[in-house]
């Protein structure tokens, strides 16, 4: 019955697509009818798991399972907690919280009591023995502390930093002996040249690009490697942390603000070629653009793209559990495997694209700040 022509193949594809659609619409009904009698709310559990993954955490948990006795077992390793409290610096290992995240486990150190609530460490008041909550689930007898812990994201940043340091110093050393690198350097060289010749040189200009290539290369490889690290099953989500992307955007902001030349600042503060009355208005807009909107768009773009990618991948993996009743175990697993495989391939592309865009826009902003205008403002209006 199978006709091996292009048309036949296309038709069977259409049939498959229709089948998937029908199965999906059927599954919605199945889910709603089953929801009342099931003892475990799969949807809620999946949501919690995804949210937990997106956030930074104080321990490195690879996976967890429930054993035959009904006990929850966590596999992973703890990380050091370093906090600045009312009595100075305190540090201990995060395993003392026993994976508790709702403030029930109290850790005593130096006569102070600590609890962990939703990934944040709280210091209890002097005479309190347990955390009390008000109606909106805010802790009433505990307050947050300054947290300098080596969290999961910090581990990721350090790991990538050390990796990049060794990879690029060995690449740089090779050029002292010979012109062509060998080994892993051959992979890195075209990428370095790509950033220099396709991103830095055309956007910043022939005269100044050398000075900024180092920063652009660092940012490019840092973001790219961290994005790729986020796609491994280890559960890193470093470039999906607002703090990390904000820090990178602030670096770019400082660099183009400090290196801006006279032309750049005149164009911002006292725009030539427009009526004098409009100049202050333009100055406000330009200042807001240069100091707020540019870095904000840089940081939010990277954060949102990577976080959205992680949420999509994990939601597609979760199809395995949410559609188990309607598709059967094999069907749901197969569907989730196929979908998450292809979305992960797209995420590999996005990982490169976001690193490229961040570097490209940084180069563009720096280029705007150091560009030298040769035209005469008195004759040509802007």
């Amino acid at each position: 019955m199978i006709i091996l022509t292009m048309k036949g193949v296309q038709q069977s594809f259409k049939f498959l697509a229709l089948l998937v659609l029908v199965l999906f619409s059927g599954s919605i009904y199945a889910n709603t009818s089953n929801e009342n009698e099931g003892q475990v709310d799969t949807k809620k559990e999946v949501e919690d798991y995804i949210l937990h993954h997106i956030q930074d955490s104080h321990d490195f948990s690879l996976f967890s399972y429930t054993n035959d006795e009904g006990e929850r077992k966590h596999v992973g390793f703890p990380l050091p907690i370093v906090i600045w409290t009312s009595q100075g610096l305190v540090s201990f290992i995060s395993s003392e919280f026993h994976h508790n995240d709702d403030g029930h486990v109290i850790v005593e150190k130096n006569g102070l009591k600590f609890a962990k609530i939703h990934g944040k460490i709280y210091e209890l008041e002097a005479n309190a023995s347990s955390v009390n909550f008000d109606e909106e689930h805010h802790a009433v007898n505990a307050h947050k502390v300054l947290d300098f812990s080596i969290t999961k994201s910090v581990v990721g940043v350090l790991l990538v930093g050390i990796l990049m340091f060794f990879a690029f110093t060995s690449l740089a050393k090779q050029y002292k002996k010979k012109a062509i690198p060998t080994g892993f350097g051959r992979v890195l060289e075209p990428l370095v040249l790509y950033v220099r010749d396709e991103i830095a040189r055309p956007n910043i200009g022939e005269k100044h690009y050398r000075k900024f290539t180092g920063y652009l290369l660092t940012v490019f490889f840092f973001i790219w490697v961290l994005n790729l690290l986020g796609l491994t099953p280890m559960g890193f989500n470093v470039t999906g942390q607002l703090a990390v992307t904000a820090c990178l955007a602030i670096f770019t902001l400082i660099i183009y603000t400090v290196s801006g030349n006279k032309d750049y600042w005149t164009h911002i503060l006292w725009m030539p070629g427009v009526p004098v009355l409009i100049r202050p208005v333009l100055a406000i807009i330009e200042l807001a653009g240069a100091l707020l909107i540019k870095p904000f768009s840089l940081l939010v773009r990277l954060f949102a793209n990577i976080s959205a990618g992680h949420i999509v991948v994990m939601s597609l993996i979760a199809i395995m559990f949410t559609l188990k009743e309607s598709l059967g175990v094999a069907g749901a697993t197969g569907l989730s495997l196929v979908l998450s495989f292809f979305i992960t391939l797209i995420e590999v592309l996005v990982a490169f694209l976001q690193a490229y865009i961040f570097t490209m826009l940084s180069a563009l902003f720096i280029g705007m700040a150091v560009a030298e205008h040769e035209h005469d403002h008195n004759t040509s209006g802007h």
Partner: protein, 62 residues
């Protein structure tokens, strides 16, 4: 509820914008295939700027 409607509106707007950028870039490449590289670079930059705006709006509306 309202922020969901807002998110939908943002996505519609961003979708129209991205469609315009992509479509015009395609036309440009079709007319001048030798300028593909330059057009692609400009397209990605403008798409990134638009994306930043859309994400910023989504983020603020959350």
């Amino acid at each position: 509820m309202y922020n969901l409607i807002g998110a939908g509106l943002i996505v519609i707007g961003a979708g129209i914008g991205l469609g315009q950028i992509g479509g015009k870039a395609m036309e440009g490449i079709a007319r001048q295939p030798e300028a593909t590289g330059k057009i692609q670079t400009a397209m990605i930059i403008i798409a990134a700027l638009l994306e930043g705006l859309a994400f910023g709006a989504l983020f603020l509306g959350k």
